[in-house]
Amino acid sequence: MIRPARNHPGFWAFVAHRVSGVALVLFLPLHFLALGLALESDAALEGFLAATEHPAFVIGEWGLVTFLTIHLAAGTRVMLLELLPWRDTRKGLIAFGAVLAVAVGAVFLVRAG
């Protein structure tokens, strides 16, 4: 259960920013593995790419795209808040990032499906 004092959009945005960041770091080795296979031989890469057709992989990719959008939106938000003269856009930017992540994820699913 979340502590009551933490239950507000600003804290959730921090959690989403952090979780997406860690998830992306964990994904990176997989990404490098794919690149490494491409260097090794065509067949190895083909095998890997065939595995990416699997629905579980598509779901994973959807998560990746969504997390990337979340991380990008959350990071841009912090930079906008800290570098520009203060305007009361804190929660607006959080809402924008959330909507953007859902939208980008949906577009990905439509195109993949």
């Binding site: 004092a5 507000h8 959009p9 600003g10 804290f11 912090v78 808040l81 570098l83």
Partner: protein, 217 residues
């Protein structure tokens, strides 16, 4: 305990102290939201208890009243505010005068941008609610916290202050404004509507500007 219309959480604590537990330790003074001494954790959130109506915060007629977080407990509901005020000093949250009382008062335009920025944070009552709400204060014992940094920001914007550079330096050193994660728990809970996150963002920006040579005059 008798229930009354408009009963505050502080009324409840006082009733308990007078009728049930005479040794209960807690703090208050003004009872009207001015002195900032009555803050406690009420149902998990830091609040000024003298201006918090029971009817607004009780859940299923239950109240859980605890001392403020992030400060050492002295006894029962009273915490030691010393670290809070020490951080205030470490952030150089004090005015450095440039004139004596014999000289005329400085003329400051109320509608100038720096004055407006200072005014936005000046009504702080030192209640420690934001300090208790902030997770970074809990994680990093060195972190100055929202209240001290908010005070520093008002001074950085006070054209009468004789050492604004010193304030900026103190507030942006290790454990200063750059440690803030922009959670905004301070803004969510400040009872007088101050936005320390905005001031801390201002300090971050100002210290960056200072670094590239576009800083304070």
């Amino acid at each position: 305990m008798p229930q009354r219309a408009n009963q505050t959480v502080l009324d409840v604590v006082t009733w308990i102290q007078r009728h049930a537990e005479p040794a209960l330790a807690y703090r208050f003074a003004c009872r009207v939201g001015v002195c900032g001494s009555c803050a406690m954790t009420v149902n998990g959130r830091p609040r000024w208890t003298c201006r918090t109506h029971v009817s607004r915060v009780a859940r299923e007629r239950r109240l859980r009243i605890e001392p403020l977080r992030n400060l050492p407990r002295l006894k029962d509901l009273a915490v030691d505010m010393t670290p809070f005020f020490e951080k205030w000093q470490r952030a150089q949250g004090r005015f450095t005068p440039t004139r004596t009382r014999a000289e005329p008062m400085a003329a400051v335009r109320p509608d100038s941008a720096p004055r407006r920025a200072a005014d936005a944070g000046i009504e702080c009552i030192n209640c420690g609610v934001c300090h208790a709400a902030c997770d970074v204060v809990g994680w990093d014992p060195d972190y100055l916290g929202p209240a001290a940094l908010n005070r520093a920001w008002t001074l950085v914007n006070d054209v009468r202050d004789g050492d604004r550079h010193g304030v900026l330096k103190a507030a942006s050193a290790g454990g200063g404004c750059h440690s803030c994660h922009t959670h905004g728990s301070c803004v969510e809970h400040c009872p007088v509507g101050i936005n320390p996150t905005a001031g801390i963002a201002g300090l971050k920006r100002q210290s960056l500007l200072d670094l590239v040579g576009g800083g304070l005059p």
